[in-house]
């Protein structure tokens, strides 16, 4: 068997694939953050809590109402997205004219409150959520057993990511959105309801987080701090990709997932710091991030 740095190539393939799977979560979450930052200029620290809410929504739908995984995948993002829009309307709206810092503080505080309420109610060990019947089992790929559910995660998140990119960068709706960020007054003059568009955009970004939460529920525990653990990494991904860059967050999300996966083989102790090391290096060389444009 051939080896690379003492690791059999077969094992390496497995690790690459796993990196891609984790990368899908990074991509999905950082995509939502990038949309919200790019179009609303809000650093949404509630994102992790909203991801957690998505997972809890799926858990509650299953245990209280008997609604299964597939419906949860649709319903949970709608519910959490709607909650997001309420937050935008009631609170975030007041902050658009102020410095980024205020939005950051508000959303960070909200995240702490939401997580605290759930921890008080459900404890920290988390709740189990079963994998949907259709997606159980695994395939033997020769070099590893690939759980079917994980393959589904890669496919689903790729589709969602590319669709979002397409809508924002290539359609008329996306053009309105981008125009509204550049010059809201002018776009409003053309008869477009800009505040409503902004509310819907925030709702969409939040719904993406909730979607990722439902996807994560069967793999990780549905626990109150599942988002808090992830959000810092995801922020690093967004910064590396370039704040607000849609394609940047997708590519960096997957890419960093792979790099983290490889670190777990070659030097596992550093696996939770490697992303931050990369962040430092990227910021030194390209302060606007890999795909960001300097304004």
């Amino acid at each position: 068997m051939t080896e690379i740095f003492g690791v059999p190539t077969q094992a390496l393939f497995g690790q690459l694939l796993i990196g891609l799977i984790n990368g899908s979560f990074y991509a999905l979450l950082s995509l939502g953050l990038a949309v919200i930052f790019g179009l609303l200029n809000i650093i949404n620290f509630t994102h992790g809590a909203q991801y957690m809410l998505g997972a809890f929504c799926a858990y509650l739908l299953l245990n209280k109402l008997g609604v299964g995984y597939w419906w949860a995948l649709v319903i949970a993002p709608l519910i959490v997205g709607a909650l997001g829009m309420v937050i935008e309307r009631l609170m975030l709206k007041q902050l658009y004219k102020l410095d980024h810092l205020y939005g950051l503080l508000l959303t960070f505080g909200l995240a702490l409150i939401i997580q605290g309420v759930f921890r008080n109610e459900y404890g920290s060990s988390g709740q189990p959520y079963p994998i949907a019947q259709e997606l159980t089992g695994s395939r033997n790929l020769g070099f590893m057993f690939l759980p079917i559910y994980r393959a589904w995660v890669i496919v689903a998140s790729l589709v969602i990511c590319l669709a979002t990119w397409f809508v924002i960068e290539k359609t008329k709706l996306g053009a309105y959105l981008r125009a509204a960020t550049e010059n809201p007054a002018l776009v409003q003059a053309f008869g477009i309801n800009v505040p409503r568009m902004i509310t819907l955009t925030y709702g969409f970004g939040v719904a993406l987080a909730a979607f990722a939460g439902v996807m994560a529920a069967p793999i990780y525990q549905v626990s109150p701090q599942m988002g808090a653990d992830l959000i810092i990494v995801v922020f690093a991904v967004v910064v590396i990709g370039g704040m607000g860059s849609i394609m940047g967050s997708i590519v960096t999300g997957f890419g960093l997932g792979v790099i983290e996966g490889l670190t777990k083989v070659f030097y596992p102790e550093a696996s939770n710091t490697v992303i931050f090391i990369i962040m430092v290096l990227v910021l030194l060389v390209r302060p606007a991030g890999l795909f960001g444009s300097q304004k």
């Binding site: 059999p8 094992a11 497995g14 690790q15 796993i18 990196g19 799977i21 984790n22 921890r119 008080n120 109610e121 404890g123 920290s124 060990s125 988390g126 709740q127 189990p128 079963p130 994998i131 695994s138 590893m144 057993f145 759980p147 559910y149 994980r150 793999i219 990780y220 525990q221 626990s223 701090q225 599942m226 653990d229 992830l230 996966g261 777990k264 083989v265 596992p268 102790e269 696996s271 939770n272």
Partner: protein, 402 residues
């Protein structure tokens, strides 16, 4: 001459201090429960440990005996620096006399040192490292509930004896994980097994698939999980996903709590074998305790850590009552000199190295069909007697043992 004067002065001061010590400082016995209140170990100790301490104070009847006992609590966030600065503040300015619980071995080792420097008392329940009664042992510390040696000895030897003779470890990369891995390796080798390798993961990791894949690649019969809490839950859950057990390898959870099993669900957890020193369904007294405890802890049944906090506080208060003093070193000495007796761990004693002795239980998780409802999770396979459950005193390398 000058020297003599100094000595005389010192003796006088010491005697004065001695006289003043035969009472409770500030008229209040202040108990500090320090735990992980918000992260991956919060269901193991956390707010439940505070509830357990409160119950112990009530059951001791402190108010009736005219003793004033106060409980304070804090979140150490699993960080040794946070833990030791809380301990310093508690001891120096808040008048705390004794600290209880402290899960996370790295934090416990830090608090152990601060307590020793300040001459207070530290009764560990949540932390696991057997170094607390080994090379880091202290005259001010009692290690109550369990330790890594007990876990390794109970679970490790049972598994090696039933044919699990080659091991690979997935280890939490800090003091606790290292101690548990070391103690288990020793047991495995002593019983004729071999260790094929290990991988170290950062504390509080979400995704274990990479580590599990490495363990799978090692072809070891047993994958030993030298981690705890949320880390163990995620390892076990994801191992099921990657077909580890179906592929012919078995998991050994080296430190598993009832809260973990509750979080995993019996479907995933069934058949796991591990060691505990307390289970709520052991006898009438433990059942009665659990029934009173659960409503005070959001319906969650007690873990062995929370039970240990209860029993520890009870024994501590007995010692304070007997001495009529809350001087840390003296109270711990008194605790060691009096046999222990409480409803949860039964009769036992505390050794010179600070190790509390009681039986341990090798348990197996029930199948969903065997369980009558929430928290009916264990079948007790073997009871390991108190004199065999823990590391022999002479092997620990504790300087207090002559």
């Amino acid at each position: 001459m000058f020297q003599l004067k100094k000595v005389a002065a010192a003796v006088a001061v010491a005697m004065a201090a001695g006289g003043a010590q035969a009472q409770v400082s500030g008229g209040v016995i202040k108990i500090g429960v320090m735990s992980d209140m918000s992260s991956l170990y919060a269901d193991i100790g956390g707010p439940g440990s505070v509830a357990a301490a409160r119950m112990a104070v009530e059951d001791f009847g402190a108010a009736k005996k005219g003793m004033k006992v106060e409980i304070v609590s804090a979140d150490h966030q699993n960080k040794p620096d946070v833990g030791s600065s809380i301990a310093r503040q508690w001891y120096d300015s808040d008048g705390v006399d004794a600290i209880f619980d402290v899960p996370t071995s790295s934090v416990a080792l830090a608090v152990n040192q601060v307590t020793r420097d300040k001459g207070k008392a530290f009764i560990v329940s949540g932390a696991a490292s057997s170094d607390l009664t080994g090379k880091a042992c202290s005259p001010n510390t009692v290690h109550w509930t369990y330790d890594t040696w007990m876990l390794a000895n109970g679970t490790g030897s049972a598994i090696v004896k039933t044919g699990g003779d080659s091991w690979y470890f997935i280890t939490a990369d800090y003091a606790f994980g290292h101690a548990l891995e070391r103690d288990t390796q020793e047991v495995v080798k002593k019983n004729g097994g071999k260790v094929l390798g290990q991988v170290r993961h950062p504390l509080n990791t979400q995704d274990f698939s990479s580590f599990l894949l490495q363990a799978q690649g090692s072809k070891a019969k047993i994958i030993g999980l030298a981690n705890a809490g949320g880390d163990t839950i995620n390892s076990i859950k994801q191992a099921a996903e990657f077909g580890i057990v179906r592929g012919g390898q078995n998991l050994a959870g080296l430190l598993v709590f009832i809260s973990d099993i509750h979080g995993l669900g019996l479907n995933t957890a069934q058949g796991l074998i591990f060691t505990e020193s307390f289970y709520w369904d052991l006898n009438d007294q433990t059942r009665a305790f659990a029934k009173r405890f659960a409503p005070q802890n959001n319906g969650k049944y007690p873990t062995m850590v929370q039970a240990g906090v209860y029993a520890g506080v009870l024994h501590y208060l007995k010692a304070v009552e007997a001495l009529k003093s809350d001087d840390g070193g003296k109270v711990v000495a008194q605790m060691k000199n009096t046999p222990t007796d409480d409803p949860l761990f039964g009769k036992g004693r505390i050794r010179q190295d600070g190790r509390k002795l009681h039986p341990a239980y090798l348990v197996e998780v029930k199948k969903p069909a065997e369980s009558k409802g929430p928290y009916d999770y264990y079948k007790v396979r073997t009871q390991i007697p108190a004199d065999q459950a823990f590391r022999p005193e002479k092997d620990g390398g504790c300087s207090l043992v002559k």
